[in-house]
Amino acid sequence: MTASASVTNPNPAASSVATATRLADELIHGTHWVSSALVGAALLMWLVAMGVFLTHPLTELPLYFAQRYLVLDATSLLFIVVINTVFLGIGVYLYSRQRHTPTLARDIRSRAALMLLFMAVINIGLMANHLVLLWALIEVSTLCAAPLVARGNAANPQAVAWRYMLYSAMTLAITFLGFMALTQSAHLRGVEVSFMVDRMGESLTRAPDAWQRLGLSFMLFGLGGKLGLAPLYGWLPETYEAAPTTTSALLASVQFNISVVAVFRILQIFHGFEAGFVSQELLVMGYLSLVVAAVQIMASSNYKRLIAYACVSSSGVIALGLSVGKAAAYGVVLYIVSNAFVKSLLFLTAGRMRAVYGTNAVGPLSGVIRTLPMSGFLFSIGIFALLGFPPFASFLAEMLILSGIVQAGKLLAFTLMCVMLTVIFVATGRTVFPMLWGAPKVTVTAPPQSWVTLLPKLGFVGVLVMLGTYTPDPFNDLLRAVAVSIGG
């Protein structure tokens, strides 16, 4: 079907742009400063993060403060820089969308407040040097995010937000059971356990210890659920699909990373202990996640859900990389950093497509690149980066992970991972490429997109290309330091 033979889209959201803008203008009256303040706060946080990064050489780290409950080390510094950069982009995007989105204009005060609280909690959590404090802050961040998820446009967003909260509480309860088992292990050996990250290793034993293994197993299993690893991934696709796009981006790029840091902390504590056991557990969860993602992406007819399952697949790649240990550590860290920008780019672009087409379904979106050239182009770039194409950082990272798996002598693991990634590539392409480059089926009225809306997405693309082609030395050193801390 050609564009001239197309039918008019009956969707009221797309055909009444002027009405929506007028309504938003009325609602925005008296709240226009909120999104500006949000951008100001995000900019301030980013400047502080970059300032700390530029003024603190790695040789000066770690720095302990707040009675050693907080620590600034390579891990916390890297993720503070990454999440605050992503948040600045999300804040600018939200600012640019407020004028055209009545629901956003109405809710902007509460959403901005919750986002800032969420970011404050995550920033503190990234620096936590106490495992139980980190655990509690991850849960608090979920409690801040649940009301944001409930602002979505799903049939019953509160029910989705409730299930998100419930899953999170359950996975974190399993993690806590791990803490209990470690305490019992230490008690039975007559050792006092401290949950301070830098001291906890002293209470571990190299001798076979069932309680210690149980504790480690529960902690990784529970945190794997927060990362969206199978089998506890059920909350992720539903939540990412139902939440507003900025919230999906926050969850996928910011909250995901605090869970990654929690896993890194466990690996740092267990450095030299139970390496084989950790490897086995991560390997199983990683493969399960890749298989689940491959099957679900094949069956997906919804582009937001497809991105969500791609997040499950990314978690699987990360788990597989971590299971190899030293050989793939740098690749894993680069992959995680790159993924934060890829996911944000995809979700924010998906938000624009939904705004224009009024649906998350792939069917009516044929020929996006002709109707929305810029969004179509950015979505293509996001998908290519997600699938690990050059010149993006994810390409380099996946290559490093795969070569690490080969170096570790796990050829079966290498083969299986290649097969699963190929299936995911084909399934994603089969769904997304006709959506982007097919003949348009409907005619839609696309409201103009301001350069401010495009700015954060173009920034994310710039970061992805930069990480894949030329990584500045200070940042590269930081990535290496984190890789070394997790056994690289």
Partner: protein, 209 residues
Amino acid sequence: MNAASNPTLPLVACLIATVIPVFFGKLAVAPTWLSLQALALGWIALNKHHALDFHTLEAGLEVLIIRAGLVPHLLRRTLQGTRAAALDVMPSNLFAWGVAVALIILAFQFGDGARADVRALTLGVIAATVTMAFLVLATNREPVAQLVALLFMENALALFESLMPEPWPLPVHLAISGVYVGTVAVGSWLIRGQLASGILAPKPIEDDS
């Protein structure tokens, strides 16, 4: 040893306050059982710290104000006037009861023989409470019942502190209390929202930035 300083009694009280509502309780009475669990937690904390130091005071205030007072009150408000208040915490049938009994026995096996010492009994009570909470989550689709299960689970995690040689430091305490209050506050808000959206028409599709 007098009854007040016997550490076994508050642990048994805590277990009873968990098991009875799961087997026989209605959701309307769940806030009262939560208060009783909290008082048992307070009793355990008092037993552990005989002198009135800063931590005892802080733990006592947390238990009285937050766990025994504020959170049950918020839960009671959520339950007011809802159909869910008249429902069981866990569906009453022989299968669910059988599973619950098996889980409690297993929990005390996990506690390494509950009669061995107070530590083992504490582990058994924690494990029993957590497994009961998971069982309620698995058998009851009613959001209020699931919220009650989460709160039971968090009380069990709070009981874990009594196994530590030193009490949690203040920042950890504050964060855990924040999680407890946040769970009931956000959970109640979401549950009321679900009830309201069940009555209202679906929202029109628009930009969801």
